[in-house]
């Protein structure tokens, strides 16, 4: 198996964090996993993008075509949509993106991550909702394992655990 993913957004949106949690879960599932982050030179508000490769063998940490691409803002869409696998899935944060993608793509899901986050009471959980949603396209990764990783991530701030687990579940069960 070889899965290539690309997640991108603006610094502070938690895109990298959700990528790392996903990687931890994929490792638990026994795969080789690489996480390649790319940052702008800005310290705040710059673009943050990551390539994730989940595979059985040693592979390139740089992806050719994303089978699943998660995009949080319009500039990321413009910059990276050419890396989409035509047979892949594009997940757009419709709370912030009005533009239509131009690259060919089998499946486009528009999910209002920030509106959903607002509904459960904290916009900071938008990335966990997105993580939950992405999992629908990654059957190799067990939902329960990811939930455990989310709990671990917030272990130092235990009171945030229920909120983030709820966010994960909200994303996982959302129908675009």
């Amino acid at each position: 198996m070889k899965l290539e993913l690309l997640f991108s957004g603006i610094g502070g949106q938690g895109v990298m964090r959700l990528g790392e949690i996903l990687c931890d879960a994929a490792i638990k599932a026994g795969y080789l996993v690489t996480f390649s982050p790319f940052y702008g030179q800005e310290k705040r508000g710059g673009r943050t993008m990551c390539n994730i490769v989940i595979s059985d063998e040693m592979e390139s940490p740089i992806i050719s075509e994303a089978q699943v691409m998660l995009i949080f803002d319009e500039r990321s869409l413009t910059e990276y949509e050419h890396l989409l696998d035509p047979a892949g899935t594009l997940i757009l944060n419709s709370s912030m993106i009005e533009k239509e993608p131009t690259a060919p793509c089998a499946q486009i899901d528009k999910v209002p991550f920030y509106d959903l986050a607002q509904k459960i009471g904290n916009t900071k959980t938008a990335n966990m909702i997105a993580l939950g949603y992405v999992l629908k396209y990654l059957p190799a990764i067990d939902y329960g394992v990811v939930e455990e990783e989310v709990k671990k991530t917030f272990a130092a701030k235990a009171k945030l655990i229920p909120l983030n687990v709820e966010a994960l579940h909200t994303g996982y069960t959302y129908r675009a």
């Binding site: 080789l32 996993v33 996480f35 982050p37 790319f38 040693m58 592979e59 390139s60 940490p61 075509e65």
Partner: protein, 352 residues
Amino acid sequence: MGERVFMQGNEAMAESAIRAGCKLFFGYPITPSSEVPEYYAKVMRERPEENIMFIQGETETSVFNMIAGAVAAGHRAMTATSGPGFSLGQEAMSYMSAASLPAVIVEVMRPGPADGEILAAQGDYFQATRGGGHGDYNNLVLAPYSVQELCELMQESFDLAEKYHNPVVLLSDAMLAKLRESVELPGYVENEPKPEEKWRTLTGADGRDPHIITTCGRGAIQWERFNLDLQEKFRKIAENEVRYETYNLEDADIVLVAFGCFSRVCISAMKMAREEGMKVGMIRPISLWPFPEEAFRGLDGKKFLVCELNAGQMVQDVKLSVDNKNDVTFYGRLGGQVPTPKEILGEIRKLR
């Protein structure tokens, strides 16, 4: 071996160095190597039992000379830097090679020239493999392709530096430095022989003859002899420390050549090409100096595609190693652009 973790290249490498007994770190922050001094600074305060001494020097020029002092005093010491800082360190690289000081330097390459960018690149290949400073000397240069290999070579670098009394350059890049992957951290190195058994340390001439380290020539006769001794050291390294990996060479018509983390892009491209029915193999040099010339022997008639993140540096060593240099094609990207496996596949198709 130690525990399996999901860790960033720079940090996993720093931890491996600590476990190899490198307690002294002299650093100057520069992207993309800064996590290494940061890691050492943190461990110095949070794990006092490790006895770490981290100094943030005023310049890389200074830092490299601090390493010279620390290894001369019989301790393992290192730094991690990137191109502009490595340039500043060159006078000390020349010095430490001549003075036979076992320093270990991590060079995390980024695109130059000058200030450049902070992304992945391999443009410091010449600087690392040709000595980089003044005079006739060589560094032993190792280029790992995964976080796992980075950690293992990090530990081995100290042994090699001490075996040959020469600086070792561990050549990483922005891609490998920031890459997170699952790695089995090497364990603590134990039962190492004492430094004074391995090289002439400066610890006070208590009960022994004085040790004097000087690189100051005393006339042409003496200085030629000194240089010939140095060349003998480099000859031994060249004889013993060639490292490389080959993939699918047996039936290959086209042989990719790539080093470092970027070679993994080529490995994926090779697999894609094989799925299309093309007979593609690969050579991955691990020691860049000494360059694995022997890997290219007996491959007459094959086409070579050398892929680098620079304007064509290692390709010169490949041309010196193959039977017919007209068989060698180069594909390079600059400025921090890293081609995808699919793009490399496109270059392979052109050779079909």
